[in-house]
Subunit: 189 residues, 2 copies
């Protein structure tokens, strides 16, 4: 069964990414997984449940990747910026775009309330928390700062991908994001 669940999830993920939530049809990815809708409703409850599962999966992957990038960049402010840049680049993936950035909020509501608890958001929250405790960042509200940072990064990604030449916009977006992040830095030292 775990096998089937995974195949359904995979098929659904592709369909949601390709057609968007509204136009993706249950029968299609059930068939693609070699099953029927019965299996879907049994495993995921309804269409939203299935979608939430897909979102959770992608979110987890993004958080893991961001964490890895952050770790590689040390543990200071640079790591935070690196994580943000990583989010921007990851969100260039059409799958992430369509599912997490566009349909996700519309179907599941604000990301901070997602069932997957938004691992992605949690990750930068921890990073901000550390930096704030170390006095590197201004003591603004923790959650607000984390939410705005990820929001800005993902917004940036959307902008990058919406352009005709993502390659040229990407560095501009990363640079702008870095500047904004620096606004959180505590004055001098």
């Amino acid at each position: 069964m775990e096998e089937n669940r995974a195949r359904l999830l995979h098929a659904a993920r592709r369909a949601f990414a390709a057609k968007g939530y509204g136009d993706a049809v249950m029968d299609d990815f059930a068939a693609e997984a070699g099953l029927t809708r019965g299996a879907l409703y049994h495993s995921f409850g309804d269409k939203r449940g299935l979608f939430a599962a897909v979102v959770g999966q992608i979110d987890g992957e993004m958080a893991a990747r961001a964490k890895a990038v952050g770790a590689r960049a040390g543990d200071g402010f640079a790591a935070l910026v690196a994580e943000g840049a990583a989010y921007i680049e990851m969100a260039l993936d059409p799958e992430v775009q369509r599912i997490v950035l566009l349909d996700g909020p519309a179907v599941l509501g604000d990301p901070s309330k997602w069932p997957s608890q938004n691992a992605c958001l949690e990750e930068t929250r921890r990073a901000v928390e550390r930096l704030m405790a170390d006095g590197v960042l201004k003591p603004v509200d923790l959650d607000a700062a984390a939410r705005l940072l990820t929001g800005a990064a993902l917004t940036a990604a959307l902008w990058v991908a919406a352009g005709d030449d993502p390659g040229s916009r990407l560095p501009k977006a990363v640079e702008a994001f870095r500047c904004l992040s620096e606004g959180l830095l505590a004055p001098s030292r």
Copy 2:
């Protein structure tokens, strides 16, 4: 006919805000306006067209309001921050939330490509442009900066509204937004 168009728009706006794009039914707001779906399809083409019109209307109102707030706050950096704060407050309106922030991107794609040309985005773009020309802001990419600022503000609003007590989150969000904005300030003077 202009009269009818306006009534349909009004009814649709209420329905979209209350139920979301997916659950809002054409017949309902046609009936609410005292007409049938025929009138809708005649005036707006299809459901997306109608939705786009609603989004354009709200977007215009928001931009106008932001402009007014900005003007009242002078023409310096403070005005930019004030505009951002204004966006955050405006986005506390459930109508704006549901229509512009949640369903908008899902149905119409990235805001920077909206048919309404996103007056709201244009407005801050101009503000940033002035400040950058005056050397108040760092010379980062204009569009990127504007997009990230509005994105951050609207993201912040979503976060504020998602909480149990919006009143307590609002000042935190505005404060965090102000900090981020300051990251764009050119070093000293």
